[in-house]
């Protein structure tokens, strides 16, 4: 397979800020003079439903969507949605997963609890051993708002040193795209996510 491209899948629930996170990655890539495509889904699909955005970086990239098995990084904003996007993963994929669970309405309707995390991690392991679980809610709360969990994940992503984008470009893109009064809080969220993964000293 081609190695001159870098593919990121962002998988979550409508309202979690996957679109903004994808746009930040794309903006940072353009800032560095890279070619990039970001795919988004708007409208009806966003209403609390499963949403997938993709970011593809590389000179020859044209299609905005990613081939099965070809993600370099899968950012799971929610555990069930991480599993739902495993079709993009393979042994090379780094899975960066939030521990923030959002119960799908189908579970409530069947009066069922959320599936246990061990089972979810086991499923991810069938595709890749490179898993990092991030306590996004805790870190975002520490930064000032649980709404900044998407930015926590971007900080965590930067700490893996996998993405071909410099940290300062990512932070500049965060500053440019979040509402001006929430810039400091989001930069904090980015830093907390970054430090969290750095402290883990994992090699992925």
């Amino acid at each position: 397979m081609k190695t001159d491209e870098f593919n990121i899948v962002l998988s979550g629930v409508g309202g979690q800020g996957t679109l903004l996170a994808a746009e930040i990655l794309g903006t940072a890539a353009v800032k560095e003079g890279l070619n990039v495509r970001v795919s988004e889904i708007h409208g009806m699909a966003q209403r609390g439903g499963a949403v997938v955005s993709t970011v593809r970086i590389g000179e020859n990239v044209q299609a905005p969507t990613i081939l099965e098995g070809q993600a370099d990084v899968l950012i799971g904003f929610e555990p069930i949605e991480t599993v739902r996007s495993l079709r993009f993963a393979s042994e090379k994929t780094v899975v960066l997963m939030s521990d923030e669970r959002i119960s799908p309405s189908e579970l409530a309707a069947k009066e069922m609890s959320y599936p246990d995390m061990e089972g979810i991690v086991e499923k991810i392991h069938r595709f890749t051993g490179k898993i990092i679980i991030v306590e996004t809610e805790k870190l975002a709360r520490e930064a000032g708002s649980t709404l900044s969990q998407n930015i926590v994940l971007l900080g965590a992503l930067a700490a893996t040193e996998k993405v071909p984008i410099k940290n300062e470009s990512l932070i500049q893109a965060v500053e440019a795209l979040v509402p001006s009064k929430h810039v400091n809080m989001n930069v904090k969220a980015f830093e907390l996510g970054y430090e969290y993964v750095k402290k883990m000293k994992v090699h992925v």
Partner: protein
């Protein structure tokens, strides 16, 4: 989202990450378009939305028209005076506008006029996946198809240029994966919008009575001959890749082109690629030459075999020996759904006998194992959504003894359990008309459920029909004071215009009264018992009745509270909760979850709408304090 003022950046050669739709908006600014009209619809909405935010600064006129045909009428009126104009709509919007567009092609325009139609292969946010390139054939209008944001901007300018050269409107056709893809866009120069023109009276040209239409049809056909010449030399139609062997060629356009290129690379094909950006009229001579140069030509296009039909017609006369593969005689590619690099690669592999370099079947099987028990997460009504309250109220009052014609909007999500409201839904505004036929044919209690924006868009003629023909139906207008599904655009009931200035609200209840409806009530759907009474009375009424259920969209209400710094205190279950699951079973609110057999209210999702308090039989839900 980026500050829309980014679009006003006056540095040519600046490279910015833009959504395809934002790139079209930038193209409009570079082309000096003076009038932009729209009716919002996914995946087209951000074109006009981004213009709306900056229209006053940019010095152009923008409006959210009441529907797509009015949007085209307003813009065409301006373009007939020499003003440059653009109208944006989703694919099905062009059905609504088509009556105007078909004959506007005869009358033509003086100022350049672009009609953007955003198609939605895969129905991500639509009721069908029609291929609007056929409107170009049907209307005899030129059509351009960008494949990425840069081209979306560039082709907006090209469309204006062609439009003025031919004095015809030009269609710019995108798909979801063009409109909703972000990519780098290099800016050109901004132009000053030309906002004022002159209406030159010319009955023969502009009044389409039969005596004038007949000669104008000929004029249109002649213009299309000229358009063919433009297409032959258009920089948007060209061979972007040459093969060594000249054996194999690929013709493609739009988003399919991106997949075709990557799929050819994936398989390591030695194929040349003819990329078509102007797909009506096609560059026939260019295609003829291309066909003659190759032994086999593969047509890669999403949805209908629009290119394939025409390329085969050219081949029959000019290059009968070439083997053309696509989706017509043998279905190497599907006609339904959106493409991906994999879908295209599979088709190319079958045609060329090449092997895919990755065992995608193995990935699929492995994925099927891990995903088989995964709970589905379809889109649902948000926590705190007033539609949930409205549909619950109606269900509570009538039980299963009613038929519900529903409509296009968030409330269509009410078809999901436990609300199950919605028995027929076809297109914008159809609830009111179909309810009348159902009521006539069954004598059952029949409801038409329609949103505020949809009511203004296409509901009013149906309403008048119900009054005049005395159809016994209950029309429920779910007025959440915005066009919610498409991103909260204003409509005539909101008191805000596309220029972000204030206007006098058109009240739905006054419209209904003015149309002659005798039973009209406005209720707050969160007041369950009052609403129940109104529904009962409406059902008793001998003719058509109108109930306006008015409460703001929860997303807007929460956003407003947040911006004012008002904390939303989520509700909690108290120790009186018996976990009877009534709230879960009746409402299906995403903030209500079950953890280890116990009801839990998700504090990050709960908006404190209080609907669950109304349904709890044990009064076991309360405030935070």
């Amino acid at each position: 989202m980026p500050d829309p003022r980014v679009l006003l950046g006056d540095k040519p050669e600046k490279r910015v990450l833009l959504l395809g739709n934002e790139a079209i908006a930038r193209g409009a600014l570079e082309a000096g378009i003076g009038v932009v009209t729209t009716y919002p619809g996914t995946p087209a909405s951000e074109i006009a939305d981004s213009i709306s935010e900056i229209a006053a600064d940019a010095g152009l006129y923008m409006e959210y028209s009441v529907n797509e045909i009015v949007a085209v009428e307003v813009a065409a009126g301006a373009a007939s005076c020499g003003v440059r104009a653009l109208t944006a709509m989703k694919h099905v919007g062009l059905n609504v506008a088509s009556d105007m567009v078909m004959t506007l092609a005869y009358a033509g325009v003086r100022g350049g006029y672009v009609i953007v139609t955003a198609d939605d292969p895969e129905c991500y946010s639509s009721q069908n996946e029609q291929d609007n390139r056929f409107y170009a054939l049907l209307s005899n209008l030129p059509c351009l198809e960008p494949s990425n944001p840069q081209e979306a901007k560039d082709m907006t300018l090209t469309a204006i240029e062609i439009s003025e050269k031919l004095e015809l409107p030009v269609l710019l056709r995108t798909t979801t994966r063009v409109s909703h893809t972000r990519g780098p866009v290099t800016y050109g120069k901004l132009s000053t919008p030309n906002l004022k023109g002159k209406f030159i009276k010319d009955v023969k040209r502009l009044v389409m009575v039969p005596a004038n239409s007949r000669p104008k049809h000929e004029v249109l056909l002649r213009a299309m001959e000229k358009a063919k010449e433009i297409s032959e030399t258009s920089p948007h139609n060209n061979v972007v890749r040459k093969s060594k062997s000249k054996e194999l060629g690929i013709i493609s356009s739009s988003s399919a082109y991106n997949y075709a290129t990557e799929a050819a690379d994936l398989l390591g094909l030695d194929a040349s690629i003819l990329k078509l950006g102007m797909t009506h009229p096609l560059p026939e001579k260019m295609i003829e030459e291309y066909l003659k140069e190759h032994r086999k030509v593969i047509i890669v296009e999403e949805l209908e075999p629009y290119l394939e039909m025409q390329v085969k017609a050219i081949a029959k006369d000019k290059a009968p020996d070439v083997d053309i593969c696509g989706k017509m005689s043998k279905r190497y590619f599907p006609k339904e759904g959106e493409f991906s690099t994999l879908v295209v690669a599979k088709g190319l592999a079958v045609i060329t006998g090449k092997e895919l370099p990755v065992d995608f079947r193995k990935i699929k099987e492995k994925y099927a194992e891990v995903s088989k028990d995964l709970p589905a997460r379809p889109p649902i009504l948000c926590a705190g959504c007033p539609h949930r309250a409205s549909l619950y109220d109606i269900r509570k009052t009538v039980g299963d003894k009613a038929i519900f014609a529903t409509d296009i909007g968030c409330y269509a999500l009410g078809i999901a359990p436990p609300l199950n409201v919605g028995d027929i839904m076809i297109c914008m505004g159809a609830s009111i008309g179909t309810a009348q036929g159902i009521s006539k044919a069954t004598d059952e209690s029949t409801f038409a459920i329609i949103g505020d924006s949809t009511f203004f868009h296409a509901g009013i003629p149906g309403l008048i029909n119900a009054v005049y023909n005395n159809h016994k139906i209950v029309i429920v207008v779910l007025d959440n004071l915005t066009t919610a599904m498409t991103g909260h655009q204003p409509h005539p009931g909101t008191g805000v215009t596309g220029m972000r200035s204030a206007s006098k609200k058109v009240l739905i209840e006054k419209v209904a009264e003015g149309c002659g409806v005798k039973y009209v009530r406005v209720v707050d759907p969160f007041k369950v018992s009052e609403t129940e009474t109104a529904v009962k009375e409406a059902l008793q009424h001998p003719g058509p009745s109108v109930l306006v259920f008015r409460a703001p969209c929860a997303l807007v209400a929460v956003r407003e509270k947040r911006s004012k710094g008002v904390r939303i205190e989520a509700y909690k279950t108290t120790d009186k909760c018996t976990n009877c699951m009534a709230c879960i079973r009746l409402l299906g609110c995403p903030a209500l979850t079950v953890e280890n057999g116990k009801v839990n209210i998700d504090e990050t999702l709960c908006t404190a709408c209080g609907l669950c308090i109304s349904v709890c039989p044990y009064k076991a839900i309360g405030g935070n304090s």
